[in-house]
């Protein structure tokens, strides 16, 4: 999968084997294992403090694990220095060299090679030129990082990492510091770039939308462990436990139990966990069948493709519901109206030890 931007750098797989990392008494990573196939684009998704950035930095050689190993194509590289691993690392705040121009930033990795391996001036100029074309910043080559926008800096950081033909590309919260619109653009661009360059890539994010949209595979992390690995479809539609379900999208939480195929919702916070996504709850005026409960509409936000409605259940809990504009118009809902709620799709997690596991 060699391309114009990634000449001959072989694409390889990454193995994280039983890695444990502590900071003082805090366990950042607890016996983590992960297999990343060659050429994939993988997201490490989790809340802050889940250990995702630490794992990324350990793969890069920027941190050292207490135990466990990192293997590239089966070869243990745990003891190799960061510079010898041939990884491209894109820092959360870019870490561009502020006293160097865009061109010099991208050229840095080539210029610091030992004399024998260093490309000629002309080769460096060509390669940097190609990369600047790739990130569409050739006209800005002579500028300094402080003169660029956030999105431009991010792209320069990427080009700088790609310049050394890394065997693995690692990105720490690549879109974290950007505003919403630029984020959207860069996400699509990163996906495209990965398809063009084909290098095995891992990025860290706390934004589930970002992970689900960009990655081939998502590894969901929580409290120093990997909770689930799968395609976006798998983790979203078949979450391994209540944490994953909760983390991947908005949910309403109920408590209750399942008995003979019937779901009973408790009005106090006891029993199993029952989740319902906002779009899986239907509002009607007349209830037919046993599966429903009563509620009063409290707040309606009809701006946007989906109408967002907050209702208060008969036992006084707030519940969020989303519906299409069309359906909303048909219903002609008003604020303060009594309605019935019919759950269309519930996810039930039995109260076992620790996390709740699915019972469906």
């Amino acid at each position: 999968m060699a391309s114009r931007y990634h000449q001959g750098g072989n694409v390889l797989s990454i193995t994280v084997a039983n890695v444990t990392k502590r900071f003082g008494t805090f366990t950042a990573l607890d016996d983590v294992s992960l297999e990343i196939s060659a050429g994939r684009l993988v997201a490490l998704l989790g809340p802050s403090g889940s250990g995702k950035t630490t794992l990324l930095r350990i793969i890069a050689g920027l941190e050292f694990a207490e135990s466990g190993a990192i293997r590239f194509d089966g070869q243990d590289i745990s003891d190799r220095a960061a510079g010898e691993r041939r990884v491209g690392f894109v820092f959360q705040h870019y870490a561009l060299f502020r006293h160097m121009t865009v061109f010099e930033n991208v050229a840095f990795g080539l210029r610091v090679r030992p004399r024998g391996e260093r490309p000629t001036r002309q080769q460096i100029r060509d390669r940097v030129g190609d990369l600047l074309d790739l990130i569409q910043l050739r006209s800005q080559a002579g500028r300094y990082p402080s003169q660029l926008s956030g999105g431009q800096r991010q792209r320069v950081a990427l080009a700088r990492a790609l310049a050394v033909e890394p065997r693995v590309l690692l990105l720490d919260e690549p879109f974290g510091a950007l505003d919403a619109k630029v984020r959207q653009e860069l996400r699509r661009w990163l996906r495209q770039l990965h398809d063009d360059v084909g290098v095995t890539s891992v990025f860290v994010t706390h934004d589930q939308e970002e992970a689900l949209e960009v990655a081939d595979q998502v590894a969901v992390m929580n409290q120093g462990r990997i909770v689930q690995v799968g395609t976006p479809d798998e983790v979203y539609n078949h979450p391994a436990n209540s944490f994953v379900y909760n983390f991947l999208g908005n949910v309403n939480l109920f408590h209750g139990r399942v008995d003979n195929g019937m779901t009973y919702i408790n009005q106090d916070a006891t029993g199993d966990l029952i989740f319902a996504r906002p779009h899986a709850l239907e509002i009607t005026r007349n209830a037919n069948g046993p599966n429903h409960f009563r509620a009063t509409t409290k707040h309606i936000n009809a701006a946007g493709p989906l109408v967002k409605i907050e209702v208060i259940t008969e036992w006084g809990a707030p519940v969020h519901i989303e519906m299409a504009q069309e359906r909303f118009r048909d219903l002609a809902l008003n604020k303060g109206e009594e309605v019935y709620i019919i759950p269309r799709d519930l996810a039930i997690f039995e109260a076992t030890h620790g996390d709740f596991t699915p019972s469906r």
Partner: protein, 285 residues
């Protein structure tokens, strides 16, 4: 002529014009008496008997020797403290270790020691009656009342300058750029030379300037260890004292004018560096 700074003072919260004028007038008089007058009197006294007399002052061999010794002491003390300052800033700025804050406080220690005490401690160590005195005498090594003592005292009083200028900059910059450089395959030395040093160059430059100004101007500490041997162990400030006490005012102020010019140059560079860095003023001594 007198106005509020544009964009700074909103009309709602400004002072009446006469209050502003009065406050400015008091400030100008205060700074005029305490800062401008001493500066002016140096040059007025130095040129009090004409330009010829001024330049004749520098023909005195003892004065020439004093200038030489001052340059020598600064030429040793400044590089020594630059090496130390860079090492200390690297260790403190780039690593986490136990006792870091203690180390920072210890580096500042020489600032809180009276210059006279700074000189005294070297006399206690290396003086004829000092701890190492007998051994030094036996080996015919002269430190106190000789050049090495002057250099040591100068290093002590200028010890924190470079480190102190570098430290805030290095700490503020963190280690991201160094990590980026290392992942791109650069070695430690390459990273330091190509990434770290260019990033702190203005702070380093300013630290060197301050360190040098103090090294050339130090009086108390050097006075204690020097022995005031004319033509041999007198630095410029000590030579000024000798000349002044001999009522040779023109030569005394002529030498003083050189150090005053150095001080003015230091202030100009300070303003320039602050303008470059776009930072606000800080207490640096």
């Amino acid at each position: 002529m007198v106005s509020a700074l544009p964009g700074v003072s909103a009309p709602a919260v400004g002072e009446p014009a006469f209050v502003r004028r009065a406050l400015i007038a008091v400030t100008v008089i205060f700074l005029g008496v305490f800062l401008f007058a001493p500066l002016a009197v140096i040059f007025a006294s130095a040129f009090g008997q004409g330009v010829a007399a001024y330049f004749r002052s520098f023909q005195d061999p003892d004065t020439i020797a004093a200038i030489r010794l001052t340059l020598l002491a600064a030429a040793i003390a400044v590089p020594a403290n630059v090496v130390f300052g860079v090492a200390a800033a690297w260790t403190i700025g780039k690593f986490e270790f136990v006792g870091k804050n203690v180390l920072i406080s210890l580096i500042d220690l020489p600032f809180s020691v009276s210059p006279v005490v700074a000189g005294l401690i070297y006399v206690l160590l290396f003086g004829a009656q000092g701890v190492l005195g007998p051994w030094l005498t036996a080996h015919d090594i002269h430190i106190i009342f000789a050049v090495p003592g002057i250099v040591l005292a100068t290093i002590f009083v200028t010890f924190p300058f470079v480190a102190r200028e570098l430290l805030p900059t290095m700490i503020a910059q963190g280690s991201d750029e160094e990590e980026a450089s290392l992942t791109l395959g650069a070695g430690g030395w390459q990273t330091f030379m190509r990434v770290t040093l260019p990033n702190v160059r203005w702070a380093l430059f300013y630290g060197v300037i301050l360190c040098n100004a103090r090294a050339m101007g130090e009086f108390g500490a050097v006075s204690v260890v020097s022995g005031h041997i004319r033509g041999l162990t007198n630095t410029m400030p000590l030579q000024i004292e000798v000349l002044y006490n001999d009522y040779q005012f023109v030569p005394a102020f002529a030498v003083a004018s050189l150090l005053a010019l150095l001080a003015l140059a230091t202030l100009v560079i300070k303003s320039f560096v602050e303008w470059r860095a776009g930072t606000t003023k800080e207490v640096t001594f």
